[in-house]
């Protein structure tokens, strides 16, 4: 938990800050998927790029829905939770990608990211004092559970993969 946030007192977090945290978690994931899609396009891997752009759109939708909810409850009150305070809560780790990765591997990276987010919100829900904040974190945890199920379904729909090629890690000349 502590390596994912910095200077945030999760046990005593307010509802406004909890919503801001949730928005930033989605924003961070969205930005990471955009970076991954750019990297894949640069390295001539359009299939993985397309998948990461799809994930980017999903995270952007979640972000805007949560931001709308925050605005409805707290208007334009200033944010005290900042992007610099969170570290890869739902964003896939940078070392999850490879130049020649398959769509299945890209989906695997997303599944691990959704699992991380689930674990974060589960732990956070167990720590908080305020009931309404606990409800929010529990709700977010359940959403992450649904996302995991969706990604698993997508993985199951993919055709089986052959053995890994020994040039999987090699970069494509630019």
């Amino acid at each position: 938990m502590t390596d994912k946030t910095r200077s945030i007192d999760l046990a005593n977090i307010s509802l406004r800050d909890a919503l801001d945290l949730a928005v930033l978690v989605e924003e961070e994931a969205k930005d990471r998927y955009e970076e991954f899609a750019d990297q894949m396009e640069l390295h001539h891997n359009p299939e993985a790029a397309r998948f990461f752009r799809f994930m980017l759109a999903i995270e952007a939708k979640h972000e805007s829905r949560l931001a709308e909810r925050r605005r409805g409850l707290f208007g334009d009150e200033p944010r005290s939770v900042k992007r610099e305070m969170i570290f890869d809560i739902e964003a896939p780790e940078y070392d999850e990608v490879r130049a020649n990765m398959t769509v299945r591997q890209a989906l695997g990276a997303s599944l691990r990211a959704e699992t991380k987010a689930f674990e974060f919100f589960e732990a956070a829900a167990g720590m908080v004092q305020m009931k309404d904040v606990q409800d929010i974190f529990t709700e977010l945890r359940e959403e992450e559970r649904e996302h995991q199920a969706l990604v698993r379904q997508e993985i199951a729909r993919l055709p089986p993969e052959g053995p890994a090629r020994d040039d999987d890690d090699e970069i494509v000349a630019l």
Binding site: D38, R83, E84, Y94, D95, V97
Partner: protein, 295 residues
């Protein structure tokens, strides 16, 4: 003149990110390092135009281009002399230096000792991947003994340079290590290094995803890294720091190895002091040419 009560601008990590998209190999450790640098700079809060970022040559030396600070992707191994010149000429700038282990400890190895002893207030971040990645996988100064590469087909016969012990032995007053496997910890040590008054050194174990060894990858760092703070290390104890630094290459310690609790004056402070002493005896500016005319 009008005054305003408007708050001073604050900076976020994204304010230090340039429009240029990194062309590193997907999965490269340097992606995490640059993110940690953005976050450290946001915590410091200096505007991008007050920051100069100098690098040498190599994959990691592309970093200045990925920031909105003034950048100088300079000559192989020569980033430190350039950065010291910038800091002496423009003391108001925050000066960062970045490069790889080859740039810092092979091609530019001779400059590190002098940067340490001059104690110019700059922060040197080395992205140590133990290989020459940009030129497709040759031995670098920090490659472990026995490593098989395109230039050491039967395994390297040389001992690796130990960057931590190297700078500690030359008297560096701030020495830390991080890994992109712990981005929060890395951002924290970079911020502490920047805040330290004097030469500060951060070794980042940033694996090469394409030519690096499997057991050196970020995933392995997550499993093996040990926080110096959690080990109860006293960062004011130089000898203890040197003892831990000897484990470089065998164990991955993260955090601050050494931070001088009583930092000596920086090069800029000494220059200013010297200027003040000399200016008391110096002729007024209007008579500066008299000295030449007298002869």
């Amino acid at each position: 003149m009008t005054t305003t009560n408007a708050p001073l601008p604050t900076y976020q990590a994204k304010d230090y990110k340039s429009e240029l998209k990194p062309i590193w190999c997907p999965g490269c450790g340097d992606f995490g390092v640059v993110q940690a640098i953005y976050r450290a700079l946001a915590a410091i809060g200096r505007p991008p135009h007050e920051i100069a970022f100098v690098s040498g040559i190599g994959c990691s030396s592309r970093i200045p281009g990925y920031t909105t600070a003034y950048g100088f992707n300079s000559v192989h191994g020569r980033a430190l002399p350039i950065a010291q010149g910038i800091k002496v000429a423009s003391p108001e700038l925050l000066v960062l230096v970045a490069g790889g282990d080859g740039d810092g400890f092979s091609i530019g190895g001779g400059h590190v000792a002098h940067a340490v002893r001059r104690n110019t207030d700059i922060t040197y971040i080395v992205m140590d991947n133990q290989i020459y990645g940009l030129t497709k996988g040759q031995l670098s100064p920090t490659s472990p003994k026995g490593l098989h590469t395109v230039t050491s087909e039967y395994g390297s016969l040389e001992e690796a340079v130990n960057p931590l012990l190297y700078v500690l032995a030359y008297g560096a007053n701030f020495v830390a290590q991080g890994t992109p496997a712990d981005m929060a910890g890395l951002a924290e040590v970079i911020e502490a290094a920047i805040r330290f008054p004097g030469f500060s050194f951060v070794n980042v174990q940033s694996p090469c995803v394409t030519f690096g060894e499997d057991d050196q990858q970020v995933k392995n760092h997550r499993a093996t890294m040990q926080s110096l703070a959690k080990l109860g290390h006293d960062p004011t104890d130089r000898l203890a720091a040197m003892g831990l630094a000897q484990k470089y290459g065998k164990e991955l310690h993260t955090g601050v190895f050494y931070k001088n609790p009583d930092p000596p004056p920086t090069m800029n402070a000494l220059i200013k002091e010297r200027q003040q002493v000399l200016s008391e005896k110096a002729p007024p500016r209007s008579r500066i040419f008299d000295r030449f005319l007298q002869t």
